[in-house]
């Protein structure tokens, strides 16, 4: 019986990588909650969390501990299995996207073996992200419906229709990028943006500014973040789809949002800001050993992601919330035609100018 035909070393390498990425994104998401509160405090001229540790750095641990030890309540009239499945799905889909993001260049060791800093280099990387994003709705919808609370249901329906509407514009804006790169693999897209200046700007942001803008707005909407945080607007829906949740199930919903924020920033950086590429990277590659160079690349990538996340946070604490009809009008009547226009212009430019 030939059960294990697969290379054991390969499995171990991938499991290690997955563990590191999962723990990393969980840790980063933990400190994003702290960062969000600090950013809000700065914007509103407050101090923010300051009691637990220096600068309140232990605050996420305190919050997590509090959530873990709170009483877990499952409402009497709820659909029990789906009520539990909701936050689990939200967390699962949030963590799944990180599988196709290339975190750094390949490390070629002296004995010729190659370590890849990417869990799966599949030829349909971007479509995989789309698939997972479109599944992300289920966590919210099931949780909201299973709670048997009208505010939760309304909120989950809002979230679902918002996500479906903005997925369209998001896809269309990406089509233009894909037409330029000619590949769906994220690794190839990153490698095409090598360095920074190659007679022209290599990063996709400079080739597709309009596409980037549309993608960014859609990312805000998909993440349910202000100014598009209608599924959880307190003034209309109390708390939103997780109103009936308590303890760590609530924690999972809140946490999944921050993981989504981290991963989608990573995707934005990968697609538009060159991923782990940085100016003069060839000179650095010549000077440093492969492992050190890869580490530098990963650090640069993380720095870019953190800048992107900070941008998301600044926007959240600056802009007021949209009204629901305004949100739908923006999505269907502005962003989709704009994305189609961008697609046509890109196609024409590729056909007549660059060929």
């Amino acid at each position: 019986m030939l059960l294990l035909q697969i290379d054991t070393a390969f499995i171990i390498e991938k499991i290690l990588l997955i563990t590191v990425i999962l723990l990393g994104s969980l840790g980063i998401a933990m400190y994003l909650t702290w960062a969000e509160r600090k950013v809000a405090a700065v914007m509103q001229d407050r101090i923010g969390p300051a009691r637990a540790g220096i600068f309140g750095l232990l605050q996420p641990l305190a919050d997590g501990g509090k959530l873990f030890f709170k009483e877990e309540i499952i409402p009497d009239r709820s659909t029990r299995t789906l009520f539990i499945l909701g936050p689990a799905l939200a967390m699962l889909t949030a963590l799944m996207t990180s599988a196709v993001v290339p975190w750094g260049p390949d490390i070629t060791l002296e004995n010729g073996s190659v370590i890849r800093l990417q869990v799966a280099d599949i030829s349909i990387g971007i479509l995989f992200i789309f698939g997972v994003v479109s599944l992300g709705v289920y966590g919210v919808m099931l949780g909201g419906w299973a709670s048997n609370n009208k505010f939760s249901l309304l909120s989950s329906i809002r979230a679902a229709s918002q996500a479906i509407s903005y997925e369209l514009a998001m896809g269309l804006s990406l089509v233009a990028v894909l037409m330029m790169t000619g590949s769906l693999s994220l690794r190839e897209i990153v490698e095409q943006q090598h360095g920074f200046w190659d007679g022209y700007f290599t990063w996709n942001f400079f080739k597709q500014p309009l596409g980037f803008l549309i993608f960014l707005i859609c990312a805000f909407a998909e993440l349910n973040r202000a100014p598009f945080d209608l599924p959880e607007c307190e003034s209309e829906l109390n708390m939103g789809y997780h109103q009936e949740y308590s303890s760590m199930k609530l924690g999972f919903y809140l946490f999944a949002e921050y993981i989504n924020l981290f991963v989608s920033s990573a995707v934005i950086i990968t697609l538009f800001f060159g991923g782990y590429n940085f100016p003069f990277m060839d000179k650095v590659a010549g000077a440093a050993s492969p492992i050190v160079f890869s580490l530098i690349c990963v650090l640069i990538f993380l720095t870019k992601i953190i800048c992107c996340i900070l941008f998301f946070m600044f926007i959240r604490w600056t802009l007021p919330r949209f009204r629901y009809d305004q949100l739908m009008r923006l999505g269907w009547k502005s962003l989709i035609p704009l994305a189609l226009f961008n697609m046509v212009v890109t196609g024409a430019a590729i056909l007549w100018i660059f060929k």
Partner: protein, 172 residues
């Protein structure tokens, strides 16, 4: 058994049992969830056949978009097990007989026919590059016609959506 076969049987059992779950579960929301799980199993089969593009598009379109709308409607109508209409005995009896007859016919047809074995060696036809080339060269006419069909469906939806507005204006 190789890894391929283990995966194949796992996915097959999953697809069949989830498909049974769709028709056997009383709660329509559970039916929808079982159907989504079925789509996942079928996507897994596509991956086994090295048709990654089909696999992921199956998930995006069916599991990600269409089933969300199904779930939407079911949640809004608040269908529960107790709102399900009770059918009388005669209808149930007729259903069993007609279903059984159909089953017999299918069984008889399948028994004599020879099903071609699928080639197990992975082909590259399901990859996006080859699929795109095939669609836009060999099958370009059917492809374009089906896209026109989609466009007309879209326009139809817009027209239906617009109509109510016009009626309400007339009333005012």
């Amino acid at each position: 058994m190789s890894t391929y076969e283990i995966l194949f049987w796992f996915l097959t059992v999953m697809a069949l049992s989830c498909a049974l779950g769709v028709i056997l579960s009383r709660n329509p929301v559970n039916s929808v969830l079982f159907l989504i799980a079925t789509f996942f199993a079928i996507s897994g089969h596509y991956v086994l056949m090295n048709a990654q593009f089909l696999a992921i598009v199956n998930i995006i379109v069916y599991a990600g978009a269409i089933m969300v709308l199904f779930l939407f409607v079911i949640m809004l109508m608040n269908l529960n097990a107790d709102t399900e209409p009770q059918k009388n005995r005669l209808v149930q009896f007729a259903g069993v007989i007609s279903g059984g007859a159909l089953f017999l016919v299918v069984l008889a047809a399948l028994r004599t026919s020879s099903v071609n074995m699928l080639e197990q060696s992975p082909t590259d036809i399901g990859l996006i590059k080859n699929l795109g080339k095939t669609l836009f060269t060999q099958f370009v006419l059917p492809f374009e016609i089906s896209s026109v069909l989609f466009l007309s469906a879209m326009i139809g939806a817009v027209v239906i959506g617009k109509k109510e507005e016009a009626v309400s204006e007339v009333k005012q």
